[in-house]
């Protein structure tokens, strides 16, 4: 990238393999390559969308970037600090910079804590504010995410899905982070609430200058919120491009197939081309195919795809894809 400022988050060749133990002696017989060599940058103030079908490793990637897992391999730099190989206890001081919004707002809130206690938890961990200051900060956060202050003493079960997600967002904001991983924050909400939450996330981004890694399988929502989009397939990123470019001129066959599946609201405009229907299933991440991961289902498969893993090529500034169609 030519005139690029230094990225806030820099991920290089991130690998997250989960071991499989089986047999009588629980021997390690293989591994699930959930994330297998992923590289991307997220620049300050932007939103990078991460899309892909279920089980392709999106969530694992997001969690691994925040070091909620001990990664197998790779480099992660957030805000100038290398965190890929740090010890969990050394990471504690880095935690305020990076936060996460979870997929299921019901499961991500402790049912036995009040809203105030939930939002206060990060403050308890990382600040030395007095009880009154913490309370004031909690109430300010509740204002910021559009929750009524009077609800501070209630428990999560008393809230609707959208409100719970707001509580989760308030908790993520409590320590003034720079980088937030949104792990499918809207997947568990219904459509009207999805829009509210996404708009809230955008407002907060503007207000606090946040940087998002927005993980989702909702392609139209990602188009709306993301500046750049990365497409994942079977643990690898197949294409990264600025949002408009990716949605208007996708290059990788998988991206083309994925985007052709987005429903078109206008029936007359639906004549834009045939839907690409992929055959077969996603191969198991514990036993990915030789060569290109997508070669088993690719409509444009060539002989070389089954032998050699394609390298990433920059087609235009900021538009990178890993496909043999575009090599040379």
């Amino acid at each position: 990238m030519f005139d690029a400022p230094t990225p806030l988050v820099r991920v290089r060749d991130l690998k997250m393999h989960f071991p499989i133990y089986s047999g009588l002696f629980r021997k390690r017989t293989g591994e699930v390559k959930a994330v297998d060599g992923v590289s991307f940058d997220v620049f300050e103030g932007e939103t990078l969308g991460l899309v892909g079908e279920s089980g392709c490793g999106k969530s694992t990637c997001g969690r691994a970037v925040l070091r909620l897992y001990d990664i197998t391999e790779g480099e992660i730099t957030i805000d100038g600090a290398e965190i890929g190989t740090k010890d969990q206890s050394d990471l504690r001081s880095m935690r305020p910079v990076m936060q996460m919004v979870f997929q299921d707002p019901q499961a991500s809130l402790n049912p036995r804590m009040t809203v105030e206690a939930i939002i206060r938890e990060p403050l308890d961990e990382h600040t030395t504010l007095s009880a009154a200051e913490k309370r004031e900060k909690v109430l300010e956060l509740m204002d910021a995410v559009g929750l009524n202050r009077a609800f501070a003493g209630r428990y999560p079960h008393a809230f609707s899905g959208g409100q719970r997600q707001r509580i989760g967002i308030a908790r993520a904001l409590a320590l003034n982070p720079k980088f937030i991983v949104c792990d499918e924050p809207i997947a568990a909400l219904d459509v009207s609430i999805q829009a509210q939450v996404v708009n809230l996330l955008e407002d907060l981004q503007e207000q606090f200058g946040l940087t998002y890694l927005f993980i989702s399988h909702d392609l139209s929502m990602v188009r709306h919120i993301a500046d750049r989009v990365a497409v994942m397939y079977l643990g690898k990123i197949v294409e990264i491009a600025p949002s408009d470019v990716l949605y208007t001129a996708p290059k990788h066959p998988y991206t083309q197939a994925l985007l052709s599946a987005v429903p078109e609201p206008d029936p007359s405009a639906d004549a834009r081309g045939e839907r690409i229907v992929l055959q077969g299933d996603v191969p198991s991440p514990s036993n990915p195919p030789k060569g290109c991961n997508f070669c088993t289902r690719c409509p444009k498969v060539m002989d070389i795809c089954k032998e050699v893993e394609p390298a990433s090529v920059e087609l235009a500034p900021g538009h990178v894809t890993a496909c043999h169609l575009y090599q040379n």
């Binding site: 969690r63 206890s89 935690r95 402790n110 049912p111 804590m113 109430l139 202050r149 009077a150």
Partner: protein, 310 residues
């Protein structure tokens, strides 16, 4: 912007108490527990007969209600009758209750603490899971009564010498029961911790950077409270009954030392002629256990915010 004073909610303790009061069984249980506790603590001051003193001329007296109805030998000096050595049943019940309740509560708390600790450590730290649970299985497979008997034989004299006969035996019995009854709690708690630690709120706490000990105290323990509470109430019953079994075998408290369990066993062979000597201590044990059970039930509901306020 509303003022912070406007968002005052009723305090948590108040809410819990309000919900607890809704549970009728728990309130009756609490009432009975207070009654029985006062009965064994304050009772002996009001009815200051020595429980071990035998009044041989007034032996085998019947309780007042049987005496009145069937004209058998009775008197107000022994309102619940006396046993075959002329010892007062009411005084024995009071003093026996002191020991039984003390042993029951302490042994239950001890086994609860050990069980919860082992369960949480085994469930949360994967590396400890194998060793701790195999150790639990090991203890579980030991025949408990013989083990307790061996413990009594080995340590009784040493503890007696160190703490005096009463406290020494008390400590021995409480530890003996405590360290042989924590296994079920440990297993239940481990199972619950295993499921709860995979919840997203634990992951969220980790993403905040909370250390394990605070994740355990803040997120895991409050959420495994219900099974702990249930095994606590059962544990109290087991402790009282185990203590009586030990007394029955002659390896608990000395023979002139009344406990509910011992009263029960002393009277079993003459149960047909004097049923009241079995009924009263038996009733005391079962009602106490039942009361604690109901209190545990009510407390579990009151501590769960999802049930509270419904």
């Amino acid at each position: 912007m509303t003022d912070a004073t406007l968002v005052k909610t009723p305090s948590q303790a108040r809410e819990i108490w309000d919900q607890f009061r809704q549970h009728r069984g728990a309130m009756i249980g609490l009432g009975f527990l207070i009654f029985i506790t006062l009965f064994v603590i304050v009772g002996p001051y009001l009815w200051d007969l020595d429980p071990t003193k035998s009044d041989i001329r007034n032996k085998n007296m019947r309780p007042f209600y049987i005496g009145m109805l069937f004209g058998e030998k009775w008197g107000w000096n022994h309102p619940l009758g006396s046993d075959n050595l002329g010892r007062d049943v009411l005084a024995n019940l009071m003093y026996g209750g002191r020991i039984s309740l003390a042993v029951g509560w302490t042994a239950m708390l001890l086994s609860l603490i050990i069980g919860t600790l082992v369960g949480v450590l085994a469930g949360y730290f994967k590396r400890l899971d194998g060793p701790l649970m195999r150790f639990t299985d090991l203890v579980l497979s030991l025949p408990l009564l013989p083990l307790l008997l061996v413990m009594m034989l080995l340590f009784r004299d040493a503890l007696r010498a160190a703490f005096g006969p009463e406290l020494g035996i008390f400590l021995l019995i409480v530890t003996g029961i405590g360290i042989t009854s924590w296994m079920n709690t440990a297993r239940i708690v481990r199972g619950d911790v295993l499921t709860i630690k995979e919840r997203e709120y634990v992951l969220a706490a980790r993403s905040i950077g909370a250390p394990s000990r605070r994740i355990i105290t803040r997120h895991l323990l409050p959420n495994v409270l219900s099974p702990i509470m249930v095994s606590a109430t059962l544990g109290l019953a087991t402790a009282i009954i185990t203590e009586s079994a030990l007394s029955f075998l002659g390896l608990g408290f000395p023979s002139d030392f009344p406990t509910w369990g011992k009263l029960l066993f002393d009277s079993v062979d003459r149960m047909e002629s004097f049923p009241e000597r079995v009924i009263w201590p038996g009733l005391a044990i079962s009602l106490t256990v039942l009361a604690v059970n109901y209190i545990g039930d009510g407390l579990r509901d009151a501590l769960d915010p999802r049930i509270r306020g419904r």
